[in-house]
């Protein structure tokens, strides 16, 4: 049974709007062939399933190619300033907990200029969905390296190769106490849809990193993970409770030794059973940390496959819920605020 089928569905009501209703009258202005198109399409595809009303949905973005997204979604939307979408969305969600809030961001937007808001968002954990379109490049400004570009990357601003060690976005997110992290790929629509559903279903901040091809400035950054020829050997799909299997015949697996070191094994040659393998557990922070570190260069021999799927998902209280609990408690304890009493204070005198 695939993960896609077992996902919780929010509601059994028939959808109040269709994917087509989500299309705006604005021409989509991404480059032809850009991976953003697929992400847009999958979001438009699954949103109607959630039993939401269209007017309850808000997309908030920063600046970047990816951040044009809200203009193409016929919901409420804010295209804002570079790096600040997470903070804007936090203000919106705290004050309007009933809205379904989606943050759309790029690797530059959320990890370079917006890095601080991203880590604080994750620790505070309001119930919203953060989608990072990671193309390992600055698209909108025409091709400089980003904080996720691999070291040595030659770009307009790094003609001799970038000297910067890149972030591992999911490892960073775990360090910031994220309650939900997942990864998917623009060119795997079914998986991407499943991950969007999971993001939505999670109570708390869900971070979904989407590998996205920028065919103009960083074409092929993820081809190993999407090309028919290399894909099955270089990607491992995480499913809760299932062993880490990959390869064309799903006969390669990953085991963990005592010290926490992952090892690739061949079920046939090495004589292991599936039950000997690493069983994925979304609730296990330690395992999730290890999986986030599966970050080998996929073209190198013996490289660990890159995981996609939900790495980690645990519930902890949402920011807005705690905020409103305090408001309720204060009203219970002190009564609804009375402006005249507040202004008057404790100590007055009368002049006649």
């Amino acid at each position: 049974m695939s993960q896609t089928d077992t996902l919780p569905r929010q509601d059994d009501l028939p959808p109040s709007f269709t994917s087509q209703d989500l299309v705006t009258d604005q021409d989509v202005r991404w480059c032809p062939g850009c991976g953003d198109y697929s992400i847009l399409k999958q979001v438009q595809k699954v949103l109607p399933e959630f039993g939401l009303k269209k007017e309850e949905i808000v997309f908030v973005s920063g600046i970047g190619c990816s951040s044009r997204f809200p203009y193409y979604m016929n919901t409420y939307g804010m295209h804002s300033i570079h790096g600040r979408a997470a903070a804007i969305a936090t203000g919106l969600k705290i004050t309007r907990p009933e809205l379904s809030v989606w943050v759309i961001s790029g690797d530059g937007d959320s990890l370079s200029i917006g890095g601080n808001h991203t880590i604080h968002l994750l620790r505070k954990n309001p119930d919203l969905n953060l989608l990072i379109f990671n193309n390992q490049i600055y698209g909108l400004t025409k091709g400089q390296f980003s904080p996720t570009s691999p070291q040595g990357k030659v770009t307009k601003s790094s003609p001799m190769g970038s000297v910067e060690h890149p972030f591992n976005p999911l490892a960073l997110a775990l360090g910031a106490d994220a309650s939900f992290i997942a990864r998917s790929i623009d060119r795997d629509p079914a998986h991407l849809q499943a991950m969007i559903r999971r993001s939505h279903a999670h109570k708390g901040t869900s971070l979904l990193e989407v590998y996205q091809n920028c065919n103009v400035f960083n074409d092929g950054a993820f081809f190993t993970f999407t090309d028919r020829a290399t894909k099955s050997d270089s990607v491992v799909v995480l499913e809760h409770g299932q062993p880490l299997l990959f390869g064309a015949e799903r006969r390669k697996g990953i085991r963990m030794d005592g010290g926490g070191t992952p090892k690739i094994v061949d079920l046939d040659a090495d004589g292991y059973a599936e039950s000997d393998l690493w069983i994925h557990d979304e609730k296990d922070l330690f395992k999730a940390s290890l999986l986030a570190r599966f970050f080998d260069n996929p073209t190198e021999p013996g490289a660990l496959p890159r995981p996609i799927g939900v790495f980690y998902a645990v519930e902890r209280p949402c920011l807005e819920a705690m905020v409103h609990r305090q408001l309720t408690y204060a009203r219970e304890k002190f009564g609804e605020g009375n402006l005249d009493k507040l202004i008057e204070g404790d100590s007055t005198w009368v002049i006649r």
Binding site: K54, E56, T75, G91, L92, T95, R331, G345, W349
Partner: protein, 616 residues
């Protein structure tokens, strides 16, 4: 009781280590004065350090109180009475004392160690010095007397010393013929759960009172009668507190939930501290990770239909400028409270300045007009921040509310309003009916050029807003040249239209036309009013206009200015309002500047007026 002199007003300055409870003593005496019906104004003068090492000059904390039986507009220049808890306090404050003034000194703060820390020369003790000859000196071992009074209560010396400010208070109550009862009641209420402490405080209060009664001051008692203030019920309030109340009031009157997001910074933090206690008003406070997150989350809340407010000072305001321009583009309500402090950069965080006016008006990239209003007194903070909220909501625009460190921490009596007396704030939400031929135009405008507020959750009004230039009416992205010019001018005109919704600039005092108009804004109000009142009593009648609306200007301002031969603009900066006036009206307004992190003195204003009148 016969030897009690009557005075119309008195300035007392309390000075000592932060640890001496100076601010507390000051506030308590203030309350007593207020309860006796005096008008008053206060000026706390903090050191920059949390707790600088005791006894040092850097650690001296001050609190000045001006109270009287006449109207009081400023905390006064020099003081009549100087209370000093140690040698450093004397050294730092003596120049603030009027010739012949009274010094109340804690002898125990003048031991060798204290004298050394205060950097007096070896062997020198100012209390025994000829320099104090011209003052009336009451020196007494306050620490010892306090300990003696508390001997049998089983407290540690440290605990005992915490009450020593009560001794000063008792002493002053006797000196100014104030009853002890209200304060005693107060103490007993405040420490209801710690009767030991209540007992200690009351004992020491009484000890100070008795000490004054039985010892020195037979020939130095004063009385300050109740002021003839407008009848009504009063309370005392500080500027930041008034700002917080004003925000809550705007939330109540507009029926918009208040979302207040900020990052702590001196001297704005108390607004956060206050508001975080009003959760039963539905007020949400958010201490954001930085100023940018604060302002942008307020913008997010505002998109959602809350009253989005942020507050900061100095460097924190600088960080918000990018986001404020976004709110200009969005045309959403946003109130930015700037409690100005001395700059540039980190500057002098605990000192006041009016240095951020031009930044508020011009400090953004591109043509990004916003409204700017400024408070003139601590109580005025209430009204002006309320007005800022009204303008923000009614004109769908960011509004700067300017206060400063002097207003923030200064206190004055407040004939507070009732909710029912407050003006209305009219919110115009878009409804599904606002669709025209089936489409919603988020940037359609009314006759004032204001768009409606279309809040998520409203069916059929789904729309996108952004910081890119937008097409007129639809709000879609547009880089059409003519559209851009049109939108820039529309946004400017909308702000200019605010002038039609605010009162004409009035004269505060003085002749309707004539030789000289003093034009001011912000916290200089009280001092200038006092100075001009004094000048008037000296036969010089000069006009005074005080501006609350700094952008746009009230419609009649030019006409008003042209009625005077000269216009002088006193400011605690290097000249900012004066530049706007000169640019807009080509009137040769004269700057008068003080950039010391301190308010003007009455004398400094009077001298400038004399100087101008003499020259012309």
């Amino acid at each position: 009781m016969s030897n009690i002199q009557t005075k119309t007003n008195v300035v007392i300055r309390f000075a000592g280590d932060s640890g001496d409870g100076i601010q507390l003593t000051g506030s308590q005496f203030t309350t007593a004065a207020a309860l006796s019906g005096n008008d008053l104004a206060t000026f706390p003068d903090f050191p920059a350090e949390i707790r600088a090492p005791a006894g040092t000059l850097a650690g001296v904390s001050g609190f000045q109180l001006h109270f009287g039986s006449t109207e009081i507009y400023s905390p006064g220049d020099l003081c009549d009475v100087l209370v000093v808890m140690n040698a450093a306090a004397l050294k730092a404050n003596l120049k603030q004392l009027k010739p012949g003034g009274i010094i109340i000194a804690n002898l125990d703060g003048f031991d060798e160690k204290n004298l050394r820390l205060a950097k007096y020369a070896e062997g020198e003790n100012p209390l025994n010095d000829k320099r104090l000859e011209d003052y009336l000196l009451h020196s007494m071992p306050i620490t010892k007397l306090t300990r003696t009074a508390l001997k049998d209560l089983g407290l540690s010396p440290r605990e005992m010393d915490r009450s020593k400010n009560m001794f000063v208070l008792g002493f002053l109550y006797y000196m100014y013929n104030r009853p002890l009862e209200a304060t005693i009641e107060d103490l007993q209420k405040k420490f209801a759960k710690k009767p030991g402490i209540a007992e200690a405080n009351v004992r020491v209060l009484k000890a100070g009172y008795s000490f004054a009664d039985t010892t020195e001051i037979q020939h130095g008692r004063f009385e300050v009668k109740a002021a003839t203030m407008k009848p009504g019920t009063y309370r005392s309030i500080m500027g930041n507190q008034a700002t917080a109340y004003g925000l809550v009031a705007a939330s109540v009157k507009s029926k918009l939930p208040l979302f207040f997001a900020t990052y702590p910074i001196t001297p704005a933090s108390e607004i956060l501290h206050e508001l975080s206690r009003y959760k039963n008003f539905g007020v949400i406070t958010s201490q954001a990770e930085d100023e940018i997150a604060a302002v942008t989350s307020a913008i997010g809340a505002s998109f959602g239909g809350s009253l989005g407010v942020t507050a900061s000072a100095g460097p924190g305001i600088a960080l918000k400028t990018e986001a404020i321009a976004l709110a200009v583009m969005y045309e959403l309500p946003l109130v930015i409270c700037n409690v100005q402090r001395a700059g540039p950069s980190t500057g002098m965080p605990t000192k006041m300045e009016q240095g951020d006016l031009l930044q508020a008006i011009y400090g953004r990239n591109g043509e990004a007009p916003v409204a700017v209003v400024a408070a003139s007194t601590p109580t005025d903070c209430f009204e002006v921040v309320f007005e800022a909220c009204r303008l923000a909501v009614e004109f769908m625009t960011p509004v700067f509310f300017l206060s400063d460190g002097y207003l923030a921490n200064g206190a004055e009596p407040w004939r507070f309003p009732k909710e029912a007396d407050l003006g209305e704030i009219n919110v115009r939400f878009a409804t599904p009916d606002d669709k025209q031929n089936g489409t919603f135009l988020p940037y359609a405008r009314d006759e004032r050029l204001v768009r409606k507020w279309a809040v998520p959750g409203t069916p059929g009004l789904e729309h996108r807003i952004g910081g890119l230039e937008k097409e007129d009416l639809t709000g879609n992205i547009s880089s059409d040249p003519d559209n851009h010019e049109k939108m820039v001018r529309l946004r400017q005109q909308k702000i200019d239209n605010i002038a039609k919704s605010v009162p004409a600039q009035s004269l505060d005092s003085g002749p309707e036309s004539g030789d000289l108009l003093v034009l001011s804004w912000g916290s200089t109000y009280g001092v200038i009013k006092t100075a001009l009142k004094q000048l008037r009593s000296e036969g010089v009648d000069v006009a005074h206009a005080h501006m609350r609306y700094l952008n746009p200007f009230p419609a009649n301002i030019e006409e008003l200015l042209r009625r005077y031969r000269e216009v002088v603009v006193p400011e605690n900066n290097a000249g900012q309002l004066v530049r706007l006036i000169r640019d807009k009206f080509l009137i040769p307004a004269i700057p008068h500047n003080k950039i010391k992190g301190q308010p003007f003195t009455v004398g400094e204003i009077k001298n400038k007026v004399w100087e101008i009148l003499k020259e012309s």
